[in-house]
Homo-oligomer: 561 residues x 2
């Protein structure tokens, strides 16, 4: 088991002068402590415009600074946003390689698609295309690392003539690759691409075990075709943390940060309205945390076992003994690294520093003995599969010599229209039916909502869901979903490429949801949290529970990464 | 007078493993020394794909690393490439602000357009649009620094909805702005925009004086409308340097680096063919340095006064006494900062370190006494002009509240076609006549060239130049240019918006060029250096000499930045 620190650089409102400076300088001090006490990696996200939730928009700069304050600790991008409208692939290759040079080969290269409306809308990235852009960019960037010269690119998303992209990385063929994962399908996706899974879904150890097994099964199978030129078989989970010998003190110091983290994430990745520069997420958190399942009192009254109820997001907030137990549960199911979030919400620098020191003396020693041997054994066990997987990847290209840089021809080629309009229209249509919902349901009583959405409105509504169905998010599922609302029942029949809706019960539903019409609409509008409804008994599920977390995305809703 | 260090991160071929690592680690050590001995700024360029000439493609990473190895020295981007296809303006604002945070407010924000074919072709940037893109991006980026939230943008080059761009800079309203300058017009341009001029043209002190006077005259005039929200009235010149008590040793250690720098710059900014990953610039340099005017012997045999012959680029390679004299010449004409290039070509780390230490003990003390008082007096003298200039700038906008992030609408707006096709066609036409020339003249005798380009070919050729005329590069010049070739004379009549060609002499030429037909074509093809021809007496100029350096760009040729 390896251990990381994870930075969003959170800064809840109200803001005052000098706070961002303090935030960054404190984080550099923390990285120095983490390096000294034995943490293995410091991760920093790349997020744009996500006020309060993340002021880490240029992590390459933070990590480069951290490289000179540390000696041994690895520096992880968790993650770089790969849509070319955000970061040109050549600029990504350049910054990763330069960071690898200043840090003497300590970079972990995490990748992702970006997923919040604030970011996709801000940079004009089409949601329907971002997965394709990720796949395309990873292929291009890893070739920039290994090809001399990079032999050029011509895809729907990137056109680039042959160039020698400089400098090159210290680690060969390139730094370990990771991808951000938020659910089972993306972990499978990571495995199929032969890269590390950075899981942000605050998964409990027992569920993580199923994911890990599936991940390593795919890594060892023909399904694994590496996206890069090396395989990085590793699963990391991200958890909030605050450590103290006294449990109540740990909770007092750390639970608001953990809860704010989850609340603000839901704020930006759901349809909650956001007015840039004005919306006060910290105030909204204080007003709504209880109703969203983030209750301080509930945590304090809770049992001693950590992270058994993800809905309330306890994470690794507790005593060294509790955290050792929690880590052992993740270790026993095969998780390779836990990356801890300490800097979140209003958590204090001095408490973070204390936690890091305590982790180094009281927790870490329990996991270091025999670690190198275990890792060597794992590498040996996987070596044949890794070798076989790499043989399936298209090799680096050797560009024929004699190419001449030709500015006019290259610029003209780069400007040819490359985006089929159809995709844009489909992407917009897919989510258009969701818009406006929030305003129609927020602050209304059950009666008001149910009056507005009678059977005829519901018919239109389910037809809209069927149209918005995204087969790529269904993970191959086909079958019936049944919705038992207050006075009506609806069924969505999911086929391989499309879905259709009909009124009335299903013949053999894979999953049935029993919920008041008003609450169902609140969930879809982002005005109610399904986890809270479940705990309070206001939402009942029957059948295949694994399908439930997928529903939002299957019908065009957002996923956290 | 202030002093900087300037980094391209050059690495002449042949390459071996570990060299780029050494290059970057050495540069960090050098920055540490520079900080200690009293240098004021370390500058790093942003160049892409310019093998051997510059492996500094992610300077934000290098400067961030340097920030933790230094305490006092400023960290300058010299420059960030602003065309949005290279760096999205929001990403630029983010990286500048983050660097300002990790360095506690030590950033200088140099900007530029990018200008080599390798870069423009590599990123698909239209040469005719890059100036407009620079102006547009500087306006947008400085608003991102000061507006909360940034109120959005809709121009030909950038569409972006309202967002709060984070984090914000430590320096208020934002770090000092600079722009890369390569000739008199761009220095005037810097002044009109109220920003510092970073001059890369290795100008001699006496010429620099004229530029400086003009710069400060414009700063104090109504012509100055600041591009940012602060005025940075400063002129920096860049010079190669190597210091030793013994002149011959200084030359031996530093002249190859200085010459390679200039040769490789000409390689990438002229039409010399480049085959990515294959062309060996260092070998070409060794073969051609003499014929291009970079003669080691000539330098060694030369007088003791530095930098009187820019064609041979001696710069500040010499003894402390020589360099003190040179600096005093620049100081006396009002240059504010000299930025020295030590890391160039094959120059050695230990010699660079020695030079820096020697500069600190033997040169710097001559310029620090009374410096703060002189700078305060200058600031006071300029204060009314600066205030008046800032009043001419459009103020920061206050976005109305109530905006809601709306991904679909924002993405749709961002995708609307924004580029009028005409610009592309014009830009391509402007330079198309230049292409192919190199291959037609390279390695041919005078006779072969003159046979190929008889009077009828010349007629087409001058008509092409007239068509390619770019009024924006003419700096307001109108008049006649006369070309006295071997057996024919041609005249170009420059009007305000267009030029026309006619055979025969001019009635009242502003400038006459007397040169063999073959050499004239070699110049235009990038196969001969006008400075060398001038020195060797193969090119004669009569009339307004200031016009000569402008000619290339007036007819669609490249400028270094």
């Amino acid at each position: 088991m390896r251990f990381g620190l994870f930075y969003e650089h959170q800064l809840p409102r109200p803001w005052s002068d000098g706070q961002e400076l303090r935030l960054y300088q404190d984080a550099l001090d923390q990285a120095e402590i983490a390096d000294r006490v034995g943490f293995d990696c410091v991760w920093a996200v790349e997020h744009h415009f996500l006020e309060e939730y993340s002021h880490s928009s240029a992590p390459e700069v933070f990590l480069a600074a951290a490289s000179q304050r540390t000696k041994r600790i690895r520096l992880g991008h968790g993650i770089v946003q790969l849509p070319p409208a955000v970061n040109h692939p050549a600029r990504v290759a350049e910054r990763i390689a330069t960071l690898d040079l200043v840090s003497n080969g300590r970079v972990d290269f995490g990748t992702g698609e970006s997923s919040s409306s604030a970011e996709l809308g801000g940079f004009g990235v089409r949601r329907a295309e971002k997965r394709g852009q990720w796949q395309d960019a990873v292929d291009a960037i890893t070739r920039m690392f290994v090809e001399e010269p990079f032999a050029g690119w011509s895809s729907e998303y990137l056109r680039m003539p042959p160039r020698n992209v400089l400098p090159k990385t210290v680690q060969k063929p390139h730094p370990p690759l990771w991808v951000a994962c938020s659910r089972r399908e993306t972990i499978q996706f990571a495995a199929r691409n032969g890269i590390g899974a950075l899981s942000f879904s605050f998964v409990e150890p027992e569920d993580a075990g199923k994911w890990v097994d599936e991940y390593y099964r795919i890594i060892a199978s023909d399904e694994c075709v590496p996206a890069g030129f090396a395989v990085n078989p590793n699963v990391t989970v991200v958890l909030p943390m605050m450590l103290h010998e006294d449990e109540a003190t740990a909770i007092d110091r750390g639970i608001d940060g953990a809860h704010f983290f989850a609340f603000a994430l839901a704020h930006y990745y759901g349809p909650t309205p956001h007015d840039p520069g004005r919306t006060n997420v910290w105030e909204e958190f204080q007003e709504r945390r209880e109703s969203r399942g983030f209750s301080r009192e509930q945590i304090i009254a809770n049992a001693e076992t950590l992270n058994v109820n993800v809905g309330s997001l306890r994470g690794a907030v507790g005593t060294p003994a509790q955290v050792i137990d929690l880590i052992q549960r993740y270790e026993s199911v095969g998780v390779d690294q836990i990356s801890f979030v300490l800097q979140s919400g209003p958590n204090k620098h001095e408490h973070i520093c204390e936690s890091l020191e305590l982790f180094g003396t009281a927790v870490l020693p329990h996991f270091t003995e025999g670690r190198e041997e275990r890792e060597a054994a794992k590498a040996e066990r996987l070596a044949p599969a890794v070798e076989a997987a790499l043989a399936r990847r298209d090799p680096a290209r050797k560009a024929p010599s004699g190419y001449r840089i030709d500015e006019d021809a290259e610029v003209a080629r780069a400007s040819r229209s490359r985006r089929p309009l159809g995709v844009e229209v489909r992407a917009a249509g897919r989510r258009r039916f969701r818009q406006g919902f929030y305003n129609l349901v927020h602050g209304r009583t059950d009666e008001q909502i149910e009056r507005r959405f009678g059977p005829s409105a519901q018919r239109l509504f389910f037809a809209g869901m069927a149209r918005a169905f995204d087969p790529s998010a269904a993970g191959g599922f086909t079958g019936e979903l049944e919705f038992q609302l207050t006075r009506t029942t609806w069924t969505l029949v999911i086929g391989e490429n499309r879905a259709r809706a009909h009124p009335g019960p299903a013949s053999d539903p894979s999953l049935a949801l029993i919920v008041k019409t008003a609450d169902f609409l609140r969930i879809l509008a982002g005005d109610a949290n399904p986890a809270t409804l479940l705990m309070d008994g206001d939402l009942e599920l029957r059948g295949d529970f694994d399908l439930a977390p997928r529903l939002s995305e299957m019908f065009g809703g957002p996923s956290p990464y």
